[in-house]
Structure formats: structure tokens, C-alpha cells
């Protein structure tokens, strides 16, 4: 019961702040709203027994990406000019509503009960399996998913070098 109330509160917070991100003219306020949305999603991760992911979400998205976005806003100096919408507002809204209708129809018409456990009690059992998510995730990442893990580190290195090269001041 408490979980249901918490879910709806977090879902409303996530969607409301997401709508604020795409409609606010002041881009600094939009960045703050984005951080609120990320926090709400982190709360949803806790509800889904993904506690490690929730911490990662707060550290990386709220702590790093949002701050990076604010820095970029300050560096480009367009904070006062705001972020008006372009001529695509009406077609964009129509396309988004169409996509929402399609995804919503799939979500409403699919028989999720088939996925949610044929045998009784399995939903609670999943919660029992997920006892120490950080250790279990570490075991999986370094055994089963070790190749994507290494590729991700190479990707991050490439991103660091690429970002440095792109923003470096050139002195001829």
C-alpha cells in the first residue's frame, strides 16, 4: 500500500518535472527540473529493488550530468535568451502524442500477467534473490558481462579524449 502511494508520488514528480524541462523558457530552471526528474527516477529504482542503480543515478545524473549541463549553459551565455521552441511545435506535439498512443496501447493491451510469474510467489522470490545487489552486480559484470564492461571503459576513455580535443583552445 505504502509502495503504491510512493510509486504514484514519484511517477507524478518525474512526469511533471519532465514536462517542465521541455516547456520552460529559462534554461537554468529547466536544468534544475531535470535534476528533480532524475531524483524521482532514482526513487523508482529503489522501489524496483535496484538500490545500487539508484545510487549510481544520483551520483552520475544528479551529481555530474546536471552540473555539466549548467556549466555548458554558463559557458555558452544563452541563459537569458531562453530556449524558445522552433516552428516544429505543433508537428512535434502531434508526433509525440502519436508515439504515446502507440506505446500506451501496447502497455495497456499486453497481458503482462503472463510475464509476472506463472507460479505463485515468484514475485516475492525475486525480492529474496536480490539481497546484495552491489556484490551480485559486480560478480556479473566481471564474469558474464566482462567484454561489454571493458568496451565501456574504452568508450569512456575515447569520450574523455574527444571532449578534451573538441574544447581545447587553439593557439596558432
Amino acid at each position: 500500500m505504502a509502495q503504491t502511494v510512493l510509486f504514484w508520488a514519484l511517477a507524478v514528480a518525474a512526469v511533471a518535472s519532465a514536462v517542465a524541462v521541455v516547456t520552460m523558457r529559462n534554461i537554468l530552471r529547466a536544468a534544475v527540473m531535470l535534476a528533480v526528474s532524475f531524483l524521482a527516477v532514482a526513487g523508482l529504482f529503489v522501489l524496483l529493488n535496484a538500490d545500487f542503480l539508484a545510487v549510481v543515478q544520483v551520483l552520475i545524473y544528479v551529481g555530474a550530468v546536471s552540473v555539466l549541463l549548467v556549466f555548458a549553459v554558463l559557458l555558452t551565455g544563452d541563459a537569458q535568451a531562453g530556449s524558445a521552441s522552433n516552428r516544429l511545435r505543433v508537428p512535434g506535439a502531434m508526433l509525440s502524442v502519436l508515439l504515446l498512443a502507440a506505446l500506451g496501447a501496447v502497455a495497456l493491451r499486453t497481458d503482462w500477467a503472463l510475464l509476472e510469474g506463472v507460479a505463485p510467489g515468484t514475485f516475492a522470490l525475486v525480492q529474496e534473490v536480490l539481497t546484495e545487489t552491489p556484490q551480485q552486480l559486480a560478480d556479473l559484470l566481471l564474469s558474464n558481462w566482462s567484454l561489454p564492461f571493458e568496451v565501456a571503459s574504452v568508450l569512456l576513455l575515447a569520450a574523455i579524449v574527444g571532449a578534451l580535443v573538441l574544447v581545447r583552445e587553439r593557439h596558432p
Partner: protein, 117 residues
């Protein structure tokens, strides 16, 4: 709180993000909307891994079967990689935006039209 609710929430977040990508003028706001879409996908992946009962568990509901943890956590591993890629994308995207601002003096995506002329 069921899988259906999480799927609907994910769909709404993704559509809102798509609207932002299509209609924002400021390139940084476009990047923010892309991050929203990423987090919508993360919610869907984690919700699936939480609710979809893996076959390893379904064999015998009383005990935890071998390899069950691996199947239960697959969605979370996916979400972890998505977060990694999103962080790299944010860093590179902002670097590109700053480089564009230096050469063109604007971050308005409708003004960056060198290849159109």
C-alpha cells in the same frame, strides 16, 4: 504498482523527451530532452527485470535455482551500461555544443545551417 504502470510511465517520459528533442531551439535543451529519453528506457529495463519472472525461478518456486541471480539482474546490468553511454554522450555532446558556440556564436539549432546553403 504493477509492470503495466511502469510501462505507461516509461512511455510518457519517452514521449515528453521526444517532444523536447523536436521542438527546443537551444542545443543544450535538446541534450536535456535526450537524457530524459534515456532515463525512460532505464525505467523500462529495470521494471522488466524486476517483474518478468525468469525461467530459472519458475521451475521450482520454493527454492532459488542456480543462475537465477544472473537472470534477475540482466535488466539492471543493461541500465548500468545505458547510464555509462549516456554520461559519455553528455560529455561529448556538450563539448560539441561549446565548439559550435565558439565558431558560430550561437547554440540555436535553427541557426546552425552551414550545410543548407
Amino acid at each position: 504498482m504493477s509492470l503495466q504502470n511502469f510501462m505507461l510511465l516509461s512511455a510518457v517520459l519517452f514521449s515528453v523527451g521526444l517532444y523536447g528533442v523536436l521542438t527546443r531551439r537551444n542545443a543544450i535543451a535538446v541534450l536535456m530532452s535526450i537524457e530524459l529519453m534515456f532515463s525512460a528506457v532505464n525505467v523500462a529495463a529495470v521494471a522488466f527485470s524486476r517483474y518478468a519472472t525468469p525461467s530459472a525461478l519458475r521451475v521450482d518456486p520454493a527454492t532459488v535455482a542456480e543462475g537465477a541471480v544472473q537472470q534477475v539482474l540482466t535488466g539492471q546490468v543493461f541500465a548500468l551500461f545505458i547510464i555509462t553511454v549516456a554520461a559519455a554522450e553528455a560529455a561529448l555532446g556538450l563539448a560539441i555544443i561549446i565548439a559550435v558556440y565558439r565558431s558560430r556564436g550561437t547554440v540555436d539549432v535553427t541557426q546552425v545551417n552551414l550545410m543548407k546553403r
